[in-house]
């Protein structure tokens, strides 16, 4: 019983990274129709940026949680303006290749600049230690990660459901052409939405910094799991991304506990089962064949 509680917290903590990053991936896919392969690299950049800012200017995790996503927002908007935008009218495969190439470039640049062994990161001591719950010591930092992720997901959900911006993004996600014909300047939202998605990946990276090895390659496997998350949750579905993220985190944790060697395979088994039962994913909508 105690172990189950621990596994659950560990699964939700790992799921937090997936949920935040998948949320960004889903928003970008929804509005731009771009499968952003570079999302893992953006997650990596978030962690690297946090480590570098701590090392050079002594920026704490608290500040980095705000500053790094803002930097990533700007970076993402630049990437959209300078690169992604030009390929949007073409087949989505072109942007898949572009972001794949961008991944290789970013990973190599980080390797060149910061080496392959990774960067150190120390979190604030307030997040050290454990909380006793039902006789189990639960790491404060894992609970903190889960809390931040839930808050951000809630915030994004409110933004999407309670504001005009969210309404426009939902409409543009569902039928961009129609939204345009109804007077919405969809193009105006493309750049900030891409930046926002990238910022979410960066935030996941910052949260991962004290917890994971900060290396140029840290996003390489992450992005594969992330694709599984969005397929399970439903492509372009915001709720699906969040639920899928936490679900995959839990499957990973309980897989590690009860079928250690198959922990990663289980995620893809789950994906296969979901796709067979509901091809559009748990929260995806079947696309009408026009």
């Amino acid at each position: 019983m105690n172990a189950v509680l621990q596994y659950t917290v560990q699964g939700l903590a790992a799921g937090s990274f997936y949920a935040l990053a998948a949320l960004g991936l889903a928003v970008i896919f929804g509005v731009l129709g771009v499968v952003n392969f570079a999302h893992g690299a953006f997650y990596m950049l978030g962690a690297v940026a946090a480590a570098v800012l701590l090392d050079t200017v002594g920026m704490s995790l608290w500040l980095a949680l705000i500053v790094v996503p803002l930097l990533m927002l700007v970076f993402g908007m630049l990437v959209e303006r300078l690169l992604v935008r030009w390929l949007l009218p073409l087949d989505p495969l072109y942007n898949l290749l572009l972001t794949f190439g961008l991944t290789l470039l970013l990973v190599d640049l980080v390797k060149r600049r910061y080496g392959v062994s990774g960067l150190p990161y120390e979190r604030p001591s307030a997040l050290d230690g454990r909380v006793q719950l039902a006789g189990v010591g639960l790491p404060v930092y894992q609970l903190f990660v889960i809390g931040v992720a839930l808050l951000v997901c809630l915030g994004v959900w409110l933004l999407m459901t309670r504001t005009r911006v969210g309404m426009i993004v939902r409409a543009a996600t569902e039928r961009p052409e129609l939204a345009g014909a109804l007077g919405i300047n969809v193009g105006r939202w493309v750049t900030p939405v891409f930046g926002f998605g990238v910022a979410l990946a960066g935030l996941a990276g910052v949260l991962a910094a004290p917890f994971r090895a900060i290396t140029a390659e840290m996003g390489s496997d992450f992005i594969i799991i992330l694709f599984a998350v969005v397929v399970i949750g439903g492509l372009g579905s915001i709720v699906g991304a969040v639920v899928g993220g936490f679900l995959v985190g839990l499957v990973e944790a309980f897989g590690q506990a009860y079928a250690p060697t198959f922990a990663q395979v289980l995620i893809f088994v789950l994906m296969a089962v979901v796709v067979l039962a509901r091809p559009a994913g748990l929260f995806g909508r079947e696309e009408a064949t026009a």
């Binding site: 129609l178 345009g180 109804l182 007077g183 300047n185 193009g187 909508r285 026009a290």
Partner: protein, 230 residues
């Protein structure tokens, strides 16, 4: 107020429209009749700026809008109701109504909409696509009326609907006409077209073959039906 001149359009090498010239005046209801594949929907997509491979010109209130992007045309006063009604599933009924921006003083308020379409008022929180087909059609039309669009482009609004609903749509079109809105109605339902329109264009193989006023249209209805193969 809407004037189209020598409009030709292509899909790759294939020409879908051949030098179409037509106009819709203020408070006028004009139909575009033709069989499937005649180029009706292409014409509307050209007018909305969604199909860009074209020559010729489109003017709205004397202003050349041929090269404007879709969202600017909507803001200039073109209101499009597409043939599948275009209701957003991720938006509630009320959000569907509120999504497009107001473009003129004649825009309906939400109260006006709910007065005219009580079914929408009672389901305002429901998901857009949970409505019945007829209700979705009402919502689509109400949505463009709420923006205050000056010209409505209605793409087959009667398609697949029960006669009683079609009659209601006819009422809305007449109401719009009375308030000075111009309506371009794409129809295959010739009988319905005859009940609401002032003039008719016949479109065949991408070409406007005839322009008739409603009396002539009613008189030659059977001949036209045969000619068009509808």
């Amino acid at each position: 107020m809407l004037e189209v001149e020598n409009l030709s359009a292509w899909y790759g090498e294939a020409q879908a429209l051949r030098e179409a010239t037509l106009s819709v005046a203020e408070g006028e209801v004009v139909t575009l009749v033709g069989r499937n594949g005649a180029g009706k929907t292409t014409l509307v997509r050209c007018l909305m700026g969604l199909h860009k491979h074209l020559t010729g010109s489109v003017r709205l209130d004397g202003r050349d809008i041929t090269t404007l992007p879709a969202h600017k045309r909507a803001r200039a006063g073109l209101g499009w109701v597409q043939d599948d009604r275009g209701i957003f599933a991720n938006l509630s009924v009320e959000e569907n109504l509120l999504l497009p921006p107001r473009v003129s003083e004649s825009a309906w308020t939400l109260e006006q909409v709910y007065d005219a379409f009580p079914a929408l008022g009672s389901r305002r929180r429901a998901g857009g696509t949970t409505l019945s087909g007829g209700e979705q059609q009402m919502l689509a039309v109400a949505r463009v009326l709420r923006t205050g669009a000056r010209v409505l482009l209605l793409d087959e609004p009667s398609e697949g609907l029960a006669p009683v609903i079609v009659a209601q749509i006819g009422d809305i079109v007449r109401t719009a006409k009375q308030s000075g809105i111009g309506v371009l109605l794409i129809e295959q339902n010739v009988r319905f077209a005859a009940t609401v329109a002032d003039r008719h264009y016949l479109l065949a193989q991408g070409r406007l073959v005839e322009s008739l006023d409603n009396d002539e249209f009613v008189e030659r209805q059977d001949e036209l039906l045969e000619h068009l193969g509808i």
